[in-house]
């Protein structure tokens, strides 16, 4: 069957800063920020777990605030600053948060990981030494099906350098 090439209808050009770099792209009105990051910029570290705003796997920082990139239209992010999981490490060095998560065996399958990292980074930027309850609260909008959350909470607490959470067992 002949295949008709489709020109995206009403394509818009957007410019934004992603992980410190100026990026530009043509998007359709309905393209989400998540799809733009993943499909056009190749930043596949941001994951899609539900595409309806519940799981948090797609969380990125949009002008320093955590946002669900599955619910943000790419066009509306024009001119914004976006940070994704790929931007957390600097010059190949894991951030303190990433390192603490690694040391704490925070994750299993890794699918929820980008969302938790971004959400936790946003928390720590605002509140550098949160209590365990504050960490749990801040992460309560992100779903992880593998871990039962304790290892993730422990990782964030370790990154904050605060006291080990109540349940921490020394190894």
């Amino acid at each position: 069957m002949p295949e008709r090439e489709v020109q995206p209808q009403a394509s818009l050009t957007i410019r934004l800063q992603v992980n410190g770099e100026e990026r530009e792209g043509a998007v359709e009105g309905r393209t989400t920020l998540a799809d733009f990051l993943r499909d056009q910029l190749g930043l596949t570290g941001t994951h899609l777990g539900c595409e309806h705003g519940v799981c948090g796997a797609c969380t990125v920082l949009l002008d320093s605030q955590p946002a669900r990139s599955c619910l943000v239209l790419a066009a509306s992010a024009d001119g914004s600053r976006v940070e994704t999981v790929e931007g957390l490490a600097e010059n190949g060095q894991l951030s303190r948060l990433q390192q603490a998560m690694w040391d704490s065996h925070s994750f299993q399958c890794g699918f929820c990981t980008p969302g938790f990292l971004i959400q936790a980074a946003a928390l720590l930027a605002e509140n550098p030494s949160p209590t365990e309850a504050e960490v749990r609260h801040a992460l309560s909008g992100n779903l992880c099906r593998c871990t039962g959350y304790e290892s993730i909470v422990r990782g964030v607490m370790a990154a904050a350098g605060g006291p080990e959470p109540a349940g921490a067992e020394p190894r």
Partner: protein, 781 residues
């Protein structure tokens, strides 16, 4: 050859996972991350009705829609791929049924795929799905077991002649009538589990790429085992096995869901072959919740023959499983539940009747600890017995648990209970929780209108279970190979999807062979080099794959030392491999890096300098059945507070005392346990795959199907018991499923205990606030 004990062992240490650096930096590689030139995207047009005849499918408009490359309806797909057929002649068969990869004449559940659209983007494919016109003739939906057994309702599969899929079949172990005759009383209960489901954060996914030139189908899959996926695809697509290659990289969780290849995945491969282009399908969350599969909907009629002293002599059990629309896994579940229901207890006799039905709901799939109903029913029943006899529930357990040095140390259904530590786990849990102190506190708080409860559940989990005398050979294969640079490649059919096998298998192999952890690469997920084995599942990893890696590394080490001894003219006993180097007093300079040694062995072999009979092929394969390792198990204990005004349950304390043998990586073990318990918390307090009376699915988004969050899952205390070591070498045991097996009865027992002043008998597993208010009489039942 003797096992070596290096000074510092990786095995037993919570070493950091080798998987994590990639995953933490956003460089994981899931199927949805893969792009190929010319790649097309799939979307399915799905039935909005639970039960309907398909009279006509008109795909005309969809074909002409922008960006659409092809549309396939059920009839076309039937030309491209074989129907899923079960001849109904195997003992585990669900009866003689056959159904299309896409629905042909009939839709059997909401979401049944009716047509496949392949287009330039997912969005365009979905747009075109909207344009497909399907003419349905509605049939009365069969939503419950009662409806399935109602002959006045339409049958879902004509060839079954009814909606009963199998059974009822009764098997009797021991002298059931004698035990019931000796009993002081019979305790009866109807206990049920509700439908809930896996919900991995990554749904199903596939990228199929048929190369017309070579006739090869290359598949990127999200799977628990590439061999199984390849087998299914080759059969359904009627292709020779060697024309199908399945590769898997990162997999975002599964919990039993991603085995073989689903109908949608087969359809995408068929489309790729037809079009000669790559076709990718990424299941969305609606599809995942609605059609990927569901589990656990089982009901039980139980009678227990008990003595006044609290001995449970025998059980009569009738189990009915709701298999959902398309038969598959349910008959096997019934088999395992029957075998496992005695658990670690000294039951003298059992009569077990199992049967299954089909309904217009999502198909039954494996979900973490698929046979878990045996523990739920038994542990709930024990508490009901305790309540009737006025004996404490842990005490009833103690009076019935098998004692390790007292024969017969065997379940009445057959399997040996050698090495179990169930008793010890219960005693330890009672001690840690200070049961006496808790009871005082509980009474005191009740005076204040606060309702606390404590619950226990004791279980064993085949991990992989004892050797079955005369049973089929069931092994896991590992191939160990030295690469030219001195690194050790460990090939396994296990397919990690969160379990950290790339780390844990490397720990075992590194210790046994004598290399540093960084020198080991665990190779998974490519049918071109993956050894035989069905994949990750059934708690096969630790004992079976771990043991095979240990024996494989040991064998290869023997070979290398032998060859090195020839080259250096020394005795193998004078040599050792340690830290990735050949060491020994006679080795020139005291040490020789492995890479150099391999070069020399290779050269010597090629120039004929090795004596005949020396094996210079630096590869070793080992098959291992898990040895004597047998059972994992333990006791979970939970303390809850129930708010009688709102019905909300708060978990105040959760304790796991368990034994999974020698741990390879304790942090990985604890992660498996906590993750499993979290799913149990969800099952009892939040999760339910709900259908309305018309068969419409009500839990199709994550706002309706509630997963537990960081606020719902408590801190989980874990104590590991020291195991009984029955195998000379391998005493690791699987640990993936126990958390999810034991948590639901533990939490339900705790809630039932908290509600005891209100007097309800808790006979179900799903206890959200509304149900609790019904149970205490605050809401009408």
């Amino acid at each position: 050859m003797k096992a070596r004990v290096p000074a510092e062992r990786y095995t037993g240490a919570s070493v950091r996972r080798v998987e994590d650096e990639r995953l933490l930096t956003g460089r994981g590689s899931f199927v949805a991350d893969a792009q190929l030139p010319g790649m097309l995207h799939a979307a399915f047009c799905r039935s909005p009705l639970p039960h309907a005849r398909i009279l006509a499918v008109n795909t005309e408009a969809a074909r002409l829609a922008p960006g659409v490359v092809a549309v396939f309806d059920g009839a076309q797909m039937a030309q491209m791929a074989s129907p899923v057929a079960d001849p109904g002649d195997s003992p585990r068969s669900g009866g003689p049924v056959s159904f299309g990869i896409l629905a042909v004449d009939k839709a059997r559940l909401v979401g049944d795929p009716v047509a496949l659209v392949v287009a330039q983007s997912r969005a365009l494919a979905e747009d075109a799905c909207e344009l497909i016109q399907v003419e349905y003739q509605e049939l009365a939906p069969v939503v419950t077991v009662e409806q399935a057994l109602d002959p006045s309702l339409p049958v879902i599969f004509e060839e079954l002649g009814g909606n009963r899929l199998f059974g009822p079949e009764t098997k009797v172990f021991g002298d059931v009538d004698g035990a019931f005759a000796r009993a002081d009383r019979v305790v009866r209960a109807s206990i049920r589990q509700h439908r809930h489901q896996n919900v991995p954060m990554e749904g199903r996914a596939i990228l199929a790429n048929f190369d017309a030139g070579s006739g090869q189908l290359l598949v990127r899959a999200a799977t628990q085992g590439v061999n199984t996926t390849r087998q299914t695809l080759a059969e359904q697509l009627r292709m020779p096995l060697d024309r199908v290659r399945v590769v898997a990289e990162d997999v975002g969780g599964s919990f039993g869901l991603k085995f073989g290849a689903s109908r949608e995945e087969v359809a995408c491969c068929a489309a790729s072959r037809e079009l000669g282009r790559p076709v990718r399908w990424i299941e969305d969350r609606w599809e995942n919740l609605t059609v990927s599969g569901q589990a656990r909907e089982e009901s039980f009629e139980v009678e227990a023959a008990v003595t006044s002293a609290g001995r449970i002599l025998a059980l009569k059990v009738e189990m009915v499983i709701d298999s959902g629309a398309y038969p598959g896994f349910a008959p096997l579940v019934v088999d395992i539940v029957r075998e496992m229901i005695p658990g670690p207890y000294r039951l003298e006799a059992l009569s077990f009747t199992g049967s299954g039905v089909v309904t217009n709901k999502a198909s039954y799939v494996a979900y973490r600890g698929p046979w878990a109903a045996e523990t739920f029913v038994r542990e709930r029943m024990i508490d009901l017995v305790a309540q009737e006899l006025g004996i404490s529930a842990p005490e009833v357990r103690l009076r019935n648990l098998a004692v390790r040095d007292e024969p017969p140390l065997r379940m009445v259904t057959g399997p040996s209970l050698a090495g179990i530590t169930a008793r010890e786990s219960l005693l330890r849990a009672v001690e840690i929780l200070d049961l006496t102190g808790f009871r005082e506190e509980q009474l005191r708080l009740r005076e204040e209108g606060r309702y606390l409860g404590i619950g226990f559940a004791t279980y064993i989990e085949p991990a992989p279970g004892p050797r079955q005398e005369g049973g089929e050979e069931n092994t896991e294969q590992v191939r160990v190979e030295l690469d030219q640079d001195g690194s050790l490649l460990v090939h396994t059919a296990q397919m990690p999807h969160g379990q950290g096998h790339r780390t844990t298998l490397a720990q075992v192999a590194a210790d046994e062979f004598g290399v540093r952890l960084e020198q080991v690469q665990v190779m998974v997920g490519d049918t071109q080099r993956t050894p035989t084995g069905f994949g990750t599942g059934g708690s096969r990893f630790a004992a079976m794959a771990g043991g095979a890696a240990l024996h494989g590394a040991r064998r290869l080490r023997g070979k290398v030392l032998e060859a090195a001894a020839q080259i250096l003219d020394l005795a193998p006993a004078e040599l050792d491999i340690s830290g990735g180097e050949l060491v020994g007093p006679g080795v020139p300079g005291g040490r020789l890096p492995l890479a150099e040694l391999i070069g020399r062995i290779d050269l010597a072999a090629r120039s004929g300098q090795l004596p005949p009979g020396t094996d210079a092929d630096l590869t070793a394969t080992a098959d291992f059945d898990g040895g004597e390792s047998g059972w994992s198990g333990g006791t979970h204990c939970c303390v809850v507070e129930v708010d009688a005004a709102t019905g909300l349950v708060r978990i105040l304390r959760y304790l796991v005392v368990e034994d999974c043998g020698d741990m390879i990586n304790p942090a990985v073990v604890d992660g498996q346990i906590r993750g499993g318990v979290a799913q149990g918390v969800g099952a009892v307090l939040l999760e339910r795959s709900a259908y309305d009376p018309e068969g419409q699915y009500l839990s199709a988004t994550l706002m309706d199907y509630l997963l537990p969050t960081a606020l719902d899952v408590p801190h989980i205390e874990i104590e590991h018991l020291s195991p009984v070591r029955l195998d000379p070498d391998v005493n690791f045991r699987g640990v993936g499923e126990g958390g999810m097996i034991a948590a639901p009865p533990t939490i339900c027992n705790a809630i039932a205990d908290a509600l005891s002043p209100f007097g309800p008998r808790v006979l179900e597993q799903h206890l959200p606030p509304t149900r609790i208010l019904e149970l205490i009489g605050a809401l009408p039942d």
